[in-house]
C-alpha cells in the first residue's frame, strides 16, 4: 500500500508524525522511530529554559493537563546532542521552534537552517504554558503572520505553523499564516484547562492553568481541522486525541494531509507504529490505492 506523504515538500514514508513534547529518545527503546512518518522533538528555544514548577501533569477524564513550560536545553544542545541521535535511529526529523519574541524564533530558525538532516520546521506559536510568546502569538492573526514571515525569510526548509485551539476563529489565524507564507499548518496544540486538587482545595498544577490533551479533545480538534482545511489551500496536519488508526483516518477524512500523535504514546508507546499498520489495513480493506485518497473525503 502506498502511504507516501508529501507535506509541502517534506517527504514522509507515511502520514504518522510524533507530536512535539511527547516523543523523546527514550521511546526508541520501545518502538522504532524509523517506521514512523516523522518525529517532532520537543520545541527548542534559543537558550535553555527550565520550565514550570511541579506538579506539571494531572490526569483528567480521558485526558491530561500539562504545564511543562517549554523546558529544553536550547538549540545548540538540540543540534549537537539530540538531533544526531534521532538521525542515527533512522528518524525523519521535523524541528519545533518556540520563542518569546519574533527575534528568538528567527535566531533558532537560523541555527536549524544551517544543519543537515532536518526535514522541516514547525513553529510553535501555540504553547499555553509560558508567560511570554507561545499562545500570545497564536491567538492574534497579525502576530502569527509576523512570526511566520520572519521565519520564512530565513528558513531554508518548509515551515509548518502549529495553531492553537484557544481562539474564536481558527480560520482567521490559518489564513493569516498562509498569506504570510506558511507551507503548512498543524493543529491543534493543547486546549487551555485547569483542574482543582480537591484533597488540597487548590489548583492541581503548579502554574494553575495548563494544556488539555488526549482523547477528550478529539472532537474539538476534528472541528478545527475541518474548518482550517476549508479555509486554506496549504496542507493541514491534524492532531488532538488520536489514539487509534480510526482516529487518524477520521482526521484525514476531515481534511488532514497527515496526522500527529501526542498523549497516546504515553498510554501505549507503540501507538505510532500501530496507527501506521491500521491505516495500511484500512486502505486495503476499502480498496484504496493510496493514502492521499482519504484526504478530505468526508468534507461536504
Amino acid at each position: 500500500m502506498n502511504l507516501d506523504t508529501d507535506i509541502a515538500g517534506i517527504k514522509l514514508k507515511n502520514p504518522v508524525i510524533m507530536a512535539s513534547g511527547t516523543f523523546g529518545l527514550d521511546y526508541a527503546r520501545l518502538t522504532d522511530p524509523a517506521r514512523l512518518g516523522a518525529v517532532i522533538p520537543k520545541s527548542v528555544t534559543f537558550e535553555a529554559r527550565s520550565g514550570n514548577p511541579a506538579p506539571r501533569v494531572w490526569e483528567t477524564t480521558a485526558g491530561m493537563l500539562n504545564s511543562i513550560g517549554l523546558e529544553n536545553r536550547g538549540v545548540t544542545y538540540f543540534v549537537e546532542e539530540e538531533l544526531p541521535l534521532w538521525l542515527s535511529l533512522g528518524a525523519t526529523v521535523i524541528a519545533s521552534i518556540a520563542g518569546e519574541t519574533i527575534e528568538e524564533f528567527v535566531r533558532v530558525a537560523e541555527v536549524l537552517s544551517e544543519v543537515e538532516g532536518i526535514s522541516g520546521l514547525e513553529i510553535n506559536v501555540s504553547c499555553p504554558n509560558v508567560d511570554r510568546g507561545g499562545i500570545q502569538f497564536g491567538c492574534r492573526p497579525r502576530l502569527a503572520a509576523d512570526v511566520t514571515t520572519a521565519v520564512k525569510n530565513i528558513a531554508n526548509k518548509p515551515v509548518i505553523v502549529k495553531l492553537t485551539p484557544n481562539v474564536t476563529s481558527v480560520t482567521e489565524v490559518a489564513k493569516a499564516v498562509e498569506a504570510a507564507g506558511a507551507d503548512a499548518v498543524s493543529l491543534i496544540n493543547t486546549v487551555l484547562g485547569l483542574a482543582i486538587d480537591i484533597a488540597a482545595e487548590k489548583p492541581a498544577l503548579g502554574r494553575v492553568v495548563g494544556g488539555l490533551s488526549g482523547p477528550a479533545i478529539k472532537p474539538i480538534a476534528l472541528r478545527l481541522v475541518y474548518e482550517a482545511a476549508g479555509a486554506v489551500d496549504i496542507p493541514v496536519i491534524g492532531l488532538g486525541g488520536i489514539t487509534t488508526s480510526s482516529d487518524a483516518i477520521e482526521f484525514m477524512l476531515a481534511g488532514a494531509a497527515a496526522i500527529q500523535i501526542g498523549t497516546a504514546t504515553f498510554v501505549e508507546p507503540k501507538t505510532g507504529e500501530k496507527v501506521v499498520a491500521g491505516i495500511d489495513a484500512y486502505l486495503r480493506e476499502h480498496n484504496y490505492d493510496n493514502v492521499t485518497q482519504l484526504i478530505g473525503k468526508a468534507r461536504l
Partner: protein, 263 residues
C-alpha cells in the same frame, strides 16, 4: 539514554491479593524483570484497557519472590489502582520497565537504615533483600497510620532485618513519627551507615535533615505525577540543586542533598 534495560511487557499475573487495609500484593512472572530489576526501580503499568483511566500508574518493585517472580505492593486509592486490584491470576499486566534509577546498593555500608512511611514501604523490601544478600545489617523503621501492612513486617523479619514500627496513634509499636527514632538508630552501631527513605514528603525531609546532621549518606525516593514514565514528557520534574530533574528517569531515587524540598 543510559544503558538501562527497559522493555514493555505483558507480565502474567501469578497472584493479586489483599494483604492489609486496601493494600494489595501483586506477583507476576518474568525472568527478565527479575534478572534486571534493581531496588528502587518501578513499573509503569497500564490499568484497564480503555481510555479512562488514561495514563499508566507507576508502582515500585517490591521485591523478588524467586528468580521468575516479581512482587509489587500497592494501595488501592483511586480508579487506577482499583482497576489493578480487579485483575486476576492468569491475566497479564502491561508494564514498562524496570524504570528509573534505583537505590545505591553498596557493600561498603556496614549498616543500612530503611525508613518507610505508609505505602512508601513498597520499594524498601526489595532494597532489604539486596542488602541482606550482601550480608549488610538492615534496620527498618516503619511508620504507618495503623496496621497498614502486617505481612511486610513478617517479610522484613524473615530477611533478618531489625524492625521497629511507629504509628501516629500508638495503636501498634511506638507512638509518634518514624523519624523520632532515626537519630538513636544512626548512632546505635558501627559505620559507615546509610539511610534510605520512602514515604510522605515531610518524613523524607526529616530523615534527610537528621542524616545530614550525622553526615550520613541518605537517599530518598520521590513521588511526582507522571505521564510517560520514561523521561520523554518532562512532566514529573522536581527541583534539585542541579535544576529540574525527572523523577521517572533521573530518579525516583535522589541523594537527599540534591533535593530542594518544597512545602
Amino acid at each position: 539514554m543510559t544503558e538501562r534495560h527497559l522493555t514493555q511487557d505483558k507480565l502474567e499475573i501469578i497472584s493479586n491479593k489483599v494483604v492489609g487495609d486496601r493494600f494489595y500484593r501483586l506477583t507476576v512472572r518474568s525472568h527478565s524483570w527479575a534478572k534486571t530489576a534493581r531496588p528502587g526501580q518501578f513499573a509503569h503499568i497500564r490499568v484497564g484497557t480503555g481510555l479512562e483511566p488514561l495514563l499508566r500508574r507507576p508502582i515500585s518493585i517490591h521485591g523478588l519472590d524467586d528468580r521468575d517472580a516479581v512482587a509489587f505492593l500497592y494501595q488501592a486509592k483511586g480508579a487506577g489502582t482499583a482497576a489493578l486490584a480487579a485483575m486476576r491470576a492468569g491475566e497479564a499486566v502491561d508494564a514498562i520497565g524496570p524504570a528509573g534509577n534505583g537505590f545505591t546498593v553498596d557493600a561498603r555500608y556496614k549498616r543500612t537504615i530503611l525508613v518507610g512511611g505508609g505505602i512508601g514501604v513498597a520499594p524498601l523490601m526489595f532494597l532489604a533483600q539486596a542488602y541482606r544478600a550482601k550480608g549488610t545489617a538492615v534496620t527498618v523503621l516503619l511508620g504507618a497510620r495503623s496496621k497498614d501492612c502486617l505481612t511486610c513486617l513478617a517479610d522484613f523479619k524473615s530477611l533478618g532485618c531489625q524492625v521497629t514500627v511507629t504509628t501516629d496513634d500508638g495503636s501498634e509499636g511506638h507512638r509518634g513519627y518514624v523519624t523520632d527514632i532515626l537519630e538513636q538508630q544512626i548512632s546505635a552501631g558501627p559505620g559507615p551507615v546509610a539511610v534510605f527513605a520512602c514515604g510522605p514528603t515531610v518524613m523524607m525531609r526529616r530523615a534527610a535533615t537528621i542524616a545530614a546532621l550525622y553526615d550520613v549518606h541518605c537517599e530518598v525516593s520521590l513521588e511526582e505525577r507522571m505521564a510517560c514514565g520514561i523521561g520523554a514528557c518532562l512532566g514529573c520534574a522536581v527541583m534539585t540543586t542541579a535544576g529540574y530533574r525527572r523523577v521517572c528517569a533521573d530518579g525516583p531515587v535522589f541523594s537527599a542533598e540534591e533535593v530542594v524540598w518544597i512545602g
